[in-house]
C-alpha cells in the first residue's frame, strides 16, 4: 500500500498567559491508502490538535504549528498557500467533528449545506448538486431524503446530524476522512450505525480514515493501525491486533486493563493512579513516569524515544530500550 499522508516531526504549540503548551510534540506517523488509523488517548493528549493541525485549523486561538511537515499525496500541506489548502479541504481532505450541531449553520437548510461543497469543488450546477445531495442523504441511511434536504439542523436529532456531516464529508470523494470523536456524543445504538456506515464507505470508496477517539472499543472495531498518545507524544503504535494482544507501553497496558468489558467482570478494576501531568510543567522525562508502576531512575530524567520493537510495533519506553541494549 502506498502512503497517502506522511507526518514528520509535527509540533503544535499553544501560547497562553501562563506559558507555552506543547500540545503536539514531535509526532510522526503515516496513513496508507485505504487504511484506518486510530489515534487514541485521553483529553489533553494532543490527539485532536493533531487533526486540527492537518486541517490547518490551529492558527486562530494562540496556536501555531512550530515545526514538522505534513505530506499529503506528495505535497506538504504546511507549505501550501491558503487558497490551495482551502480547495483541498472538503474535497480530498474531509473532516467530521464530535458536535455535528455546532459544525452546521443553523439558518441554512440541510440540502443547501450539502450542495455547497459540491458546487464549489465539483463545479456542479444547482440542479445536479441537489440531485447529488439527495442521493447522499439516502446513502447515509436517512429515509425521506427530499424532506430532510429542506429541513433545518435543529429539526434533526444528533445521530441524523452526524450522518449529514458524513454525507457532506464524503460528498466530493475525499482521499482521507479525519473523524474527531465522531460518535462520542451519540448513543451506543446510534454509534453502531455510524461506525457500520463509515466502514461501508471505506470499503466502497477505498478512502483512508484517521479516526480520533478515546474509546478503545471503537478502536478495536475500526482500526487497522493504532497510535497511542500521551501528553502530546506518541507512546506506542502498531497494528491493531498486535497492539491489543501484546501492548508494550505501561500506559497502553493500563488503559486496556482499566476499561470494564462486558462479560469479563472482575471484582476490582485496574486503575492507573494519579492524573495527566500539567502541560506547563513538563521536564525532560518520560511524561508517564509518576503514574507508572515500572518507573526507573532514568524515566525521571530522560525522555525515551520511539523505537521499533518488532512485529511492526513501536514504543517509547525505557523498559524496552534496556531490553534492546542487553539483547
Amino acid at each position: 500500500m502506498n502512503n497517502l499522508m506522511r507526518i514528520d516531526g509535527l509540533s503544535t504549540h499553544f501560547f497562553t498567559e501562563d506559558g507555552e503548551v506543547k500540545a503536539v510534540d514531535d509526532v510522526s506517523f503515516r496513513v496508507r491508502e485505504g487504511e484506518t488509523v486510530c489515534i487514541v488517548g485521553e483529553s489533553g493528549c494532543g490527539k485532536s490538535v493533531t487533526a486540527m493541525s492537518i486541517m490547518g485549523l490551529v492558527e486562530s486561538p494562540g496556536g501555531k504549528v512550530t515545526s514538522g511537515s505534513i505530506e499529503f499525496q506528495g505535497e506538504d500541506l504546511l507549505q501550501l498557500d491558503k487558497h490551495t489548502l482551502r480547495s483541498m479541504r472538503g474535497h480530498e481532505l474531509a473532516m467530521i467533528f464530535q458536535e455535528p450541531m455546532s459544525s452546521l449553520n443553523p439558518v441554512i437548510k440541510i440540502g443547501e449545506q450539502i450542495m455547497e461543497p459540491l458546487r464549489v469543488h465539483l463545479k456542479l450546477n444547482k440542479k445536479e448538486a441537489r440531485a447529488k445531495a439527495i442521493e447522499l442523504i439516502s446513502q447515509v441511511g436517512i429515509s425521506r431524503p427530499e424532506q430532510i434536504a429542506d429541513s433545518y439542523p435543529h429539526e434533526l436529532s444528533g445521530g441524523m446530524l452526524q450522518r449529514i456531516m458524513i454525507a457532506i464529508a464524503i460528498s466530493c470523494g475525499p482521499k482521507l476522512l479525519i473523524a474527531d470523536e465522531p460518535t462520542t456524543a451519540l448513543d451506543v445504538t446510534i454509534q453502531a450505525q455510524i461506525l457500520d456506515m463509515l466502514r461501508q464507505f471505506k470499503a466502497d470508496s477505498g478512502m483512508s480514515i484517521l479516526l480520533i477517539t478515546h474509546d478503545l472499543g471503537v478502536v478495536a472495531e475500526m482500526a487497522d493501525y493504532v497510535i497511542v498518545m500521551y501528553s502530546g507524544k506518541i507512546v506506542e503504535e502498531g497494528e491493531v491486533v498486535e497492539l491489543f494482544s501484546n501492548p508494550k507501553h505501561p500506559y497502553t497496558r493500563g488503559l486496556l486493563k482499566s476499561k470494564p468489558v462486558i462479560n469479563q467482570r472482575q471484582e476490582e478494576l485496574y486503575s492507573i493512579p494519579g492524573q495527566v501531568p500539567n502541560p506547563l510543567e513538563l521536564a525532560p522525562s518520560c511524561y508517564f513516569h509518576d503514574r507508572c508502576e515500572h518507573c526507573m531512575p532514568v524515566c525521571r530524567s530522560k525522555q525515551p524515544v520511539l523505537q521499533d520493537v518488532g512485529n511492526g510495533q513501536k514504543v517509547s519506553c525505557w523498559l524496552y530500550e534496556e531490553a534492546l541494549i542487553h539483547a
Binding site: D18, G44, A51, D180, N278, P279
Partner: protein, 307 residues
C-alpha cells in the same frame, strides 16, 4: 472544543499553590491588563484633580470679577476665565466634584434598587417577578432622555431650590437606570438557578439563606461590579446632557454639562474655545476611561472565563 480541552490543565495550573483567593487572582489579572489599568489611572487622576485640586486654587470663592471677563488662558488663569471673570480651571475642578458625585451616587442608588428588585424577581419568581418586571419593562419602553427632560422641566416648573436639584437629579437618573440593572440581575439569577450546583444545594438540603448568600450572590457580584462601573459613565453623560440643556443642576453650581452650555453661543463657540473645551474634554476623558476600565473588569470577572 479540542483546543479548550487541551488547555484546561493550564488554567488549573494558573493558580498558585496554597490558599488562594479569587479576589486576589482577579486583581492580579487586572493589573496585567494595561488598557484597563490606564483607564483606571485616568479615572483616579480625574477624581484627585476634582477633589484635591481646588484646595490649591486661589480662585475657589467664585467671585465675579468684571475686570477679568473672558480672558484667554495665561499665566494667571491657566485655562482662562469665563464671562463673569471666574477661573475656568477651578470651575472645571469644582464642576467635576458635582458631576462625579452625581455619577457615583446615582450609580449606587440604581445598582441598589436594580439589584434588589432583580434578585427578588429572579429568586422568588411568580407574582413578585411579574409586577417588578412589568414596571421595569414600562420604564424601559419610555426613551430615557425625553423622560429626564420632562422631569427636569417639572423641576423648573415647581421652582425647586438649586441646592436641592443636585440630589433630585441623582434620583432621576437612578429611576431611569434601575430597570436595566434589574433585568440583568434577574436574568443572571434565573440562569444560576438552573445550574447544577444550585440543584446540588437543594439535594444537600441547604437553607434558603445559605443558597442566596453563599451561592447566588457571590456569582452575581462580579457582574454587578462591571455593570456599576459602566453605569457611572452613563450617569455622568446623562447628567451633562441634562445640565447642558439647563434641566439638570443649575448655575451657579457648576457641572461639566452646564459649563459646556457656553458653546451654545456662536461667538463663544468660535472665539473662546477655552470656555467649553476643558469641561468637554473632562467628560470625554472620564467617560472613556471608565468604560475602558469597565471592559477590562468584565474580562477579568466574567464568570464564563473560569468555569
Amino acid at each position: 472544543m479540542a483546543v479548550n480541552s487541551s488547555l484546561a490543565p493550564v488554567r488549573r495550573a494558573g493558580a498558585a499553590s496554597g490558599r488562594s483567593s479569587l479576589f486576589r487572582q482577579s486583581v492580579r489579572r487586572l493589573l496585567h491588563n494595561k488598557l484597563a489599568m490606564s483607564g483606571f489611572v485616568v479615572v483616579l487622576f480625574m477624581f484627585a484633580l476634582c477633589f484635591v485640586g481646588p484646595l490649591f486654587s486661589p480662585y475657589t470663592d467664585n467671585k465675579i470679577n468684571m475686570a477679568m471677563m473672558n480672558k484667554a488662558p495665561g499665566l494667571k488663569h491657566w485655562l482662562g476665565t469665563d464671562a463673569l471673570g471666574r477661573d475656568i480651571l477651578t470651575r472645571v475642578m469644582q464642576a467635576g466634584r458635582i458631576s462625579l458625585t452625581v455619577g457615583l451616587a446615582s450609580m449606587v442608588l440604581s445598582v441598589f434598587i436594580g439589584a434588589l428588585l432583580g434578585a427578588v424577581a429572579g429568586y422568588y419568581r411568580g407574582v413578585a417577578d411579574q409586577i417588578i418586571m412589568r414596571v421595569a419593562d414600562l420604564l424601559l419602553t419610555i426613551p430615557g432622555l425625553p423622560l429626564l427632560f420632562i422631569f427636569g422641566a417639572l423641576l423648573s416648573e415647581w421652582k425647586i431650590p438649586t441646592d436641592y436639584r443636585m440630589y433630585i437629579v441623582m434620583l432621576m437618573l437612578s429611576i431611569v437606570n434601575w430597570p436595566g440593572m434589574a433585568r440583568m440581575v434577574r436574568g443572571q439569577m434565573l440562569s444560576l438557578r438552573e445550574r447544577e450546583f444550585m440543584q446540588a444545594a437543594v439535594v444537600l438540603g441547604l437553607r434558603d439563606r445559605r443558597k442566596l448568600f453563599n451561592h447566588l450572590l457571590p456569582n452575581i457580584i462580579p457582574l454587578l461590579i462591571v455593570m456599576a462601573t459602566l453605569n457611572i459613565g452613563g450617569a455622568i453623560l446623562s447628567e451633562s446632557v441634562l445640565s447642558f440643556f439647563g434641566l439638570g443642576v443649575m448655575p451657579p453650581t457648576p457641572t461639566w454639562g452646564n459649563m459646556i452650555d457656553a458653546a451654545n453661543n456662536m461667538i463663544d463657540f468660535q472665539q473662546r474655545p477655552w470656555l467649553w473645551i476643558p469641561p468637554g474634554l473632562s467628560i470625554f476623558a472620564t467617560v472613556i476611561a471608565i468604560n475602558i476600565f469597565g471592559d477590562g473588569l468584565r474580562d477579568v470577572l466574567d464568570p464564563k472565563q473560569k468555569r
